[in-house]
């Protein structure tokens, strides 16, 4: 490559220079090779010539040596020395002692008499020394070795001849090279011109796509180049048209995308280098505000670091990420974007930019949030409504049950009242008829007894009617309450005294226990007596042995006086203890009930006690039976 630094810029000149250099290098080598070859040839030729000469001398000198005719021998040598190129010529005996010696100096042949001993070889030899001299030893034989011919031959003329040839060759070669260069330049001129035109054409083909140049037919290569350039120009033109169309489409698509979507592009580090108008409109930033910045500037804080890490992890792996991101605009308002992030990957498989295409879904999100809130409210309302409905349903069911119960109770009440009315009425009617029909036949006792029955049964009817009327008065608020400051102990004592004979008659002991305290109350004593009478009547009715105890006391908090009447009767089941105070209720309310009663008495008691803000209830008696208790508030004066 370094070579090109020293070469001319033009290709034809480069070819010429390179050819010249090659010639300059190759020609001397060739010449030297030729000269050497020539010299070798000359030397070989001279060797053959000198050997022939030496051999002739040796053959001729045999007889002179045998005859010791040294003069002829010298004459022979002098004649032989006239052969061009011989420098000196000797004949020796077999041991190398010179017999005859002739020398040639400056073209003059003379004999030399400072005979010396030489060192002949064992066989024929031809040596060339550094002085460009060739020494030939040729044996002289006559059946046996009788001497040696030594011939020293100068190769100077041969060398000069060779050098002369080399010089001529060089001159000729130089001229040939020069001519070749000129011819080369002439031959290359046209192709180089065409090549230049092709180069110019290629250089301008991007500007003049679709244009063509004449196809050069001067050479296959040029033809191929120009044809290829024309094809390339044509292809380039078509590609340009395609690219222009694609670009136009892309521009249209980009325009459409920009019109619809928020588009921004970041580099591999997440720094924005493109943001479309819609991005700027939605975020409220100027182009200068966002270019070169990251999305950190519009982060809302709504998402966790893990959220963004997931996004980066996905897009850096070349995956498209899609999702909803909440950002902040310049005014600090939240903007929700439905976003796709598309990574653009380079050949190495790593992303070099990310295109973010988003749609503003803020209004949708707000609507969703509102809808969610409304749904939540609706759900709560629905749940609340369901609760209310359930509650109301439960209440209605309870009311319905109550109504059913009341209906049954009322129906039962009609039966019970009917029974209670019809039974004494039957007695009254029957005994009245008996008296009417048979009064004359019966004795006085019977008459009295039947009249007494009629009277008692009429009283029984009267009590029932009173109970019903009392309840009617209580319900309608027409009950008269003759409240007065009273002593509860006196009221209880009065009832005790009233019932004591009846209990005694039944053989049941009635006991009154009372704490020694003041029992001042404000009550209608007749009503409280009515309560006591009701409970004691029941106790008398159900107790057949043992005792019935009345306990009068003050509650621990001293707010109430308490009356407890414990009987020894059949008792009341646990599950009936509340219901016995309900109107028209009897524990044994079936047709099989054992004991008469309207089922109104205890309900009247409850109404009376509650009228005085007291409480009445029943507990299990000990060891058996029932214990009815009621509290009356401690009120000392009417005004209290």
């Amino acid at each position: 490559m370094m070579l090109y630094k020293f070469l001319p810029r033009k290709l034809d000149l480069q070819i010429v220079v390179i050819c010249s250099i090659l010639m300059a290098v190759m020609l001397p080598v060739y010449v030297i090779n030729e000269v050497n070859h020539e010299i070798s040839y000359v030397i070989e030729t001279k060797q053959q010539e000198t050997r022939v000469v030496a051999k002739n001398i040796a053959q001729t000198s045999v007889k002179y040596l045998l005859t010791r005719d040294y003069t002829s021998l010298e004459s022979l040598l002098q004649r032989a020395a006239s052969y061009p190129g011989i420098l000196d010529l000797q004949i020796t005996d077999p041991k190398g002692s010179v017999v005859s010696d002739v020398i040639v100096e400056n073209g003059v042949i003379s004999s030399r008499f400072d005979l010396q001993n030489l060192m002949p070889p064992k066989n024929v030899s031809v040596d060339v020394n550094q002085n460009k001299e060739m020494v030939v030893w040729e044996p002289v034989s006559s059946g046996s070795l009788i001497g040696w011919v030594r011939l020293n031959y100068s190769l100077e003329s041969a060398y000069q001849h060779a050098y002369q040839r080399m010089f001529e060759f060089l001159i000729n070669s130089g001229l040939l090279v020069l001519m070749m260069i000129i011819l080369l330049l002439l031959f290359l001129r046209k192709p180089m011109q065409l090549l230049g035109e092709a180069a110019d054409f290629a250089g301008n083909v991007s500007e003049k796509t679709g244009s063509t140049m004449p196809v050069a037919h001067q050479s296959i290569e040029l033809e191929k180049i120009t044809s290829a350039l024309n094809t390339a120009s044509s292809d380039l033109h078509e590609q340009e048209l395609t690219i222009n169309k694609v670009l136009k489409d892309l521009e249209t698509q980009k325009h459409a995308l920009d019109e619809h979507s928020i588009v921004s592009i970041t580099d591999e580090n997440g720094y924005i280098f493109y943001a479309n108008d819609k991005f700027l409109n939605v975020t409220g930033y100027d182009c200068d505000d966002v270019l070169g910045k990251s999305y950190e500037m519009i982060k809302s804080g709504m998402h966790t670091d893990g959220f963004f890490k997931n996004i980066w992890d996905a897009v850096r792996q070349g995956k498209i990420w899609k999702g909803e991101i909440c950002n902040l605009n310049k005014a600090g308002q939240m903007i929700w974007l439905n976003t796709s992030i598309i990574p653009f990957m380079n050949e190495a498989g790593t992303p070099y930019q990310f295109v973010e295409i988003s749609t503003d879904i803020t209004e949708k999100k707000q609507a969703e949030t509102e809808l969610e809130q409304k749904n939540k409210i609706l759900k709560e309302l629905t749940e609340h409504l369901e609760d209310i409905v359930q509650q109301r349903t439960a209440e209605l069911e309870k009311v319905n049950e109550e109504l059913v119960y009341l209906n049954n109770v009322k129906s039962e009440f009609v039966s019970v009242v009917s029974h209670e009315l019809r039974t004494p009425l039957t007695s009254i009617k029957s005994f009245a008829e008996i008296l009417h029909d048979d009064i004359d036949e019966m004795d006085t006792e019977s008459r009295k007894r039947y009249l007494s029955i009629i009277n008692d049964e009429a009283d029984r009817l009267g009590r029932l009617i009173n109970d019903v009327l009392d309840l009617q008065k209580i319900d309608s608020g027409m009950m008269s309450w003759n409240n007065e400051e009273s002593n509860l102990k006196d009221v209880v004592g009065n009832s005790f005294n009233l019932f004591k004979p009846a209990f005694d008659n039944k053989g049941v002991e009635l006991i009154l226990n009372s704490e020694d305290v003041q029992y001042d109350v404000v009550i209608d004593t007749d009503r409280i007596k009515q309560v006591l009478s009701n409970i004691l009547s029941n106790a008398l009715k159900f107790t057949h042995e043992g005792q019935v105890v009345i306990d009068l006391s003050k509650t621990e908090d001293e707010k109430y006086f308490q009356v407890a009447i414990t009987d020894n009767g059949i008792g009341i089941p646990e599950n009936e203890m509340e219901r016995v105070f309900k109107r028209f209720h009897q524990v044994d309310s079936s047709e099989t009930r054992k004991h008469g009663g309207s089922g109104l008495g205890l309900n009247i008691c409850k109404e009376i006690i509650e009228h005085y803000n007291g409480k009445i209830w029943v507990e299990q008696g000990l060891p058996k039976g029932s214990c009815f208790k009621f509290n009356i508030p401690v009120v000392s004066t009417l005004g209290a």
Partner: protein, 126 residues
Amino acid sequence: MMDAGKKKILICDDEPLIREAISYAVKKAGHEFVMAEDGLQAYDMVKAEAPDLVLLDVGMPGMSGFDVCKKIREMPGGEKYQIMIITAFGQASDQDKAISAGANDYLSKPFSPRDLIVKLETIFSR
């Protein structure tokens, strides 16, 4: 008053005064009577006394008149007894209940002894 012959009548009512009034009228009408205070006793006495007619009050302890009536009808030969139900509950459905239970007749309280005897004689004359 028809002479239907002397009959044995079982009077069953938990009210002693009613029992007394009925027994007075039955005796006066020339019939025999036995008395029971509750349904269970009445059932036993039906088996023991084999009365011609059973007068059953409905509202009684232990077993109602309807139940006693059913039990009598269910016992072997129970269908031969004449049974009259007496009730003081005054419900229109009582008559249906009485017939369903197998009673021959039904009488509602309050009634007079005379009403009862007329009913009894009607039954005996059937």
